[in-house]
């Protein structure tokens, strides 16, 4: 993700790809999560979807706050996952695996986001 932004663009395609992925999955999680809440189920998915969506929007705008927000979402996810299933690692596959992969991808965006923040002054 260390692609240089072209003139007139705050972040490169790598960050944008991640950003739009977060927006899309955030929307799906939020809408499905709202449905689950309506059915009397867990609130996690709705809230996490909202956080993921917002992180994606901020990432697309080259905002480091997108990363900070996602760190909160990820931390909350880990805490919730542990609360629900503890050390049952197979049960943690859907809860911990892909959110952590997204975290790692976001961390690789730090240089690009820093440049974007600097460019913004």
């Amino acid at each position: 993700m260390v692609n240089a932004p072209s003139p007139g663009q705050r972040v490169g395609w790598g960050v944008k790809l991640l950003g739009w992925t977060c927006v899309l999955f955030g929307l799906l999680l939020f809408s499905g999560g709202a449905w689950l809440i309506a059915l009397g189920g867990s609130w996690y998915y709705g809230l996490a979807g909202l956080g993921l969506f917002a992180s994606g929007v901020l990432l697309n705008r080259g905002r480091m706050t997108g990363l900070w927000l996602y760190l909160i979402v990820w931390g909350g996810t880990m805490a919730w996952a542990w609360w629900e299933s503890g050390s049952d690692w197979w049960a943690q596959v859907p809860r911990m695996l892909s959110p952590t992969i997204i975290l790692l991808l976001m961390l690789t965006c730090i240089p690009a986001l820093s440049r974007a923040e600097r460019a913004r002054g």
């Binding site: 999680l29 499905g32 689950l36 009397g40 189920g41 197979w90 049960a91 859907p94 809860r95």
Partner: protein, 664 residues
């Protein structure tokens, strides 16, 4: 004389039997016809369940927890019975051979009887009963055969020792153990047609897939009747045939036992649609009692128009006098079964608290121990009350059910957080489906909405049954832990979808339950529509050792690695135990080993009986969905499994029978 010395020793030592070749698992009285096989489990494996107690226990001890890591393939035998084009995807051989003398005898998926050399795997003979392809019911399965030694025939005479096979097109076959030649004095030219008295012959509707049981010279068999087709289905009658002549010894028709005892009167059939016995019966050779694990009525998920007789006997263990076919007692495990909790496991005989006992596993997971002579429970049985009644037929659904207070393989009810997936998204999908489904815990009655049945209909314990290690006082049970997502389909919708029972010209489609106001749809294992992964989290199956005295688990571990599992059917190759669905039982040895395939990872494994730790594995060419055996030839212990695979378990197809032994 030896018997007279042995018997008191056995009686004084409940749960402990002398280990070592030469000791009987059980023993017969002298004043009656002898046991079906004058051979004990040890060097031989003379019965489907090992010895005549069906404990799946061998006194052999050459292969031990210390040396099992060195186990090698001794031979791989190919039956040659592989599915041609149109039957591909319908094979599940599930075969367990017998070993007597120097030979193994077995049946292939399409019921070819085969004898092979037990040390080399070389074929001695084969007899092909020419079963037509259209006879294949749910799957081409032949779990085993029985052997019988005719006491009135001289040693060396043809058919002195005979192999009794069953077929998918419902025949009993008797061939000579040494040559495979038909025993011409048995039935007509060595065959008995089990369609007699059943009614209109509709291929695949009525098929025998289980090994028969021979007790006091009587072959006892039921048949598999295709589930959920129609109330007007072939009868569940269980019949006994003379093992020498093939003549009907008795018939037990639960709805008309007296009228049908010697076969139906002219112009009539055995009572149709009654609960059947599709699995293998257990027998007390000494007492002359046969124990029939019965399934449910022909229509599984609707019950209001079942007869009183069906309501009395469905999903019960029934003890019959093996000579007369008269009922001695019955024990019902589910009242008014609406969950297809057929008793699929072969029961196991043992001595328990100083009494002759029969151990009964079940699909709902409960394990019961009953007195063999009276049926009185020896393990505590409780009562679940105020059960949900549902909206379909609240007047029919039982409001209380028996439950084992001694031991069960059933896990706590499902909750939303036990929904699973590969990512939060597909997990969310399953959580929504969970919240949408009708679920009031164990024994939620059927509904026209999606409803959850947990445990699902593959168990708990299925046909693989359980094993008992009498030297350690342990019960070894592998089990499934997966829900079904089911739905009743109103008749108009079922018709619109083309659900129909099979007829003489064509096979059926779906589970129309003709005669009831609803058809049924069952999603076994509750696969997610998104990824094909199960909606519930692993483990989906495990194996446990239960202390026979206390009923407490000594250990309980997942069975099966994730190597062949993954989203969209892609194998993950992960070598970690996830606990897969499993089908097929275990064999336990006196040396403290459990051998089992069963899991969907296609591994055959040796497990330490004391700890549950896997000590050795071998990757099979297809799933080991068959009960393994162990035996001895020329002082060498062998372990053998049929690696035939299973269509519904998605574990491939193979015709390999694989034997293992330690290197010289």
């Amino acid at each position: 004389m030896i018997r007279a010395l042995l018997l008191p020793a056995l009686l004084c030592a409940p749960l402990t039997l002398p280990a070592g070749p030469g000791h009987a698992e059980g023993s017969a009285d002298d004043d009656v016809r002898p046991a079906a096989m004058p051979v004990n489990v040890g060097a031989d494996w003379p019965y489907y369940g090992g010895g005549d107690l069906s404990q799946r226990f061998s006194p052999l001890s050459q292969i031990t927890p210390d040396n099992v890591a060195g186990l090698e393939r001794a031979f791989v035998y190919h039956t040659g019975d592989l599915p041609p084009g149109e039957t591909a995807g319908k094979y599940a051989p599930e075969t367990t051979p017998l070993k007597i003398g120097d030979s193994l005898v077995l049946c292939s998926a399409m019921n070819i009887l085969i004898s092979i050399d037990a040390a080399s795997g070389e074929e001695n003979w084969r007899y092909d009963p020419q079963v037509p392809r259209e006879a294949i019911p749910y799957g081409a399965t032949c779990r085993g055969v029985a052997a019988y030694a005719d006491p009135d025939r001289a040693e060396g005479e043809a058919c002195k020792m005979r192999v009794i096979g069953t077929t998918l097109d419902a025949r009993l076959i008797a061939v000579d153990f040494a040559t495979g030649a038909p025993c011409t004095d048995f039935g007509r030219g060595g065959q008995v047609d089990l369609w007699e008295g059943i009614g209109e012959k509709i291929p695949a509707f009525y098929a025998v897939t289980a090994a028969p049981t021979v007790v006091r010279g009587v072959i006892v068999t039921g048949a598999q009747v295709k589930d959920g087709q129609a109330e007007d289905a072939p009868s569940g009658v269980v019949r006994g045939f003379d093992a020498v002549t093939g003549a009907l010894a008795w018939a037990w028709d639960l709805a008309a036992p007296e009228e049908m005892r010697n076969g139906p009167p002219a112009g009539k059939t055995y009572t149709r649609g009654t609960p059947n016995m599709w699995t293998t019966a257990a027998a007390d050779q000494a007492r002359g009692i046969v124990y029939l694990p019965l399934g449910n009525s022909a229509v599984d998920y609707y019950g209001s128009n079942r007869s009183e007789a069906e309501n009395t006997y469905a999903t019960s263990l029934v003890a019959l006098d093996a000579t007369t076919g008269e009922e001695l007692w019955h024990f019902q495990t589910v009242r008014r079964d609406l969950w297809d909790y057929d008793l699929g496991s072969q029961p196991t005989l043992l001595d328990y608290m100083g009494q002759p006992a029969v151990l009964l596993p079940s699909k709902q997971g409960d394990l019961f121990i009953l007195n063999r002579e009276t049926g009185a429970p020896l393990s505590p049985v409780g009562e679940l009350t105020d059960l949900p009644q549902g909206e379909i037929e609240p007047g029919f659904v039982a409001d209380s059910q028996p439950v084992s207070l001694w031991a069960t393989l059933r896990k706590p009810p499902l909750t939303e957080k036990r929904m699973w997936g590969f990512t939060p998204l597909d997990q969310l999908y399953c959580r929504i489906r969970f919240r949408q489904a009708v679920y009031e815990g164990y024994l939620t009655p059927p509904s026209t909405e999606n409803y959850i049945q947990y445990p699902g209909y593959i168990g708990g314990s299925d046909w693989g049954s359980v094993a008992v290690d009498p030297t350690r006082g342990l019960l070894i049970a592998n089990y499934n832990d997966i829900p079904n997502l089911n739905r009743l389909v109103p008749r108009a919708e079922a018709d619109a979808e083309g659900m129909r029972p099979p007829d003489a010209r064509s096979g059926g489609r779906g589970q129309p339950q003709v005669g009831a106001p609803y058809g049924a749809k069952t999603n076994a294992g509750w696969r997610s529509g998104l990824t094909d992964l199960p909606c519930s989290q692993p483990p989906y199956g495990g194996i446990t050792a239960i202390d026979l005295q206390s009923g407490e688990p000594v250990w309980d571990v997942p069975l099966g690695t994730a190597r062949r599992s993954g989203p969209f059917g892609i194998p993950s190759r992960l070598p970690f135990e996830i606990g897969t669905p499993n089908n097929g039982g275990a064999v336990v040895t006196a040396s403290g080993l459990i051998f089992i395939g069963a899991a969907a990872d296609n591994l055959f494994r040796a497990i330490d009986t004391e700890t549950g730790e896997t000590l050795w594995t071998d990757a099979l060419p297809a799933g080991g969905q068959a009960n393994p055996i162990t035996y001895e030839v020329d002082g060498k212990q062998y372990v053998l499994i049929s690696a035939g695979g299973h269509h519904a378990m998605e574990t491939g197809t193979s015709d390999a029978i694989i034997a293992y032994r330690l290197p010289d």
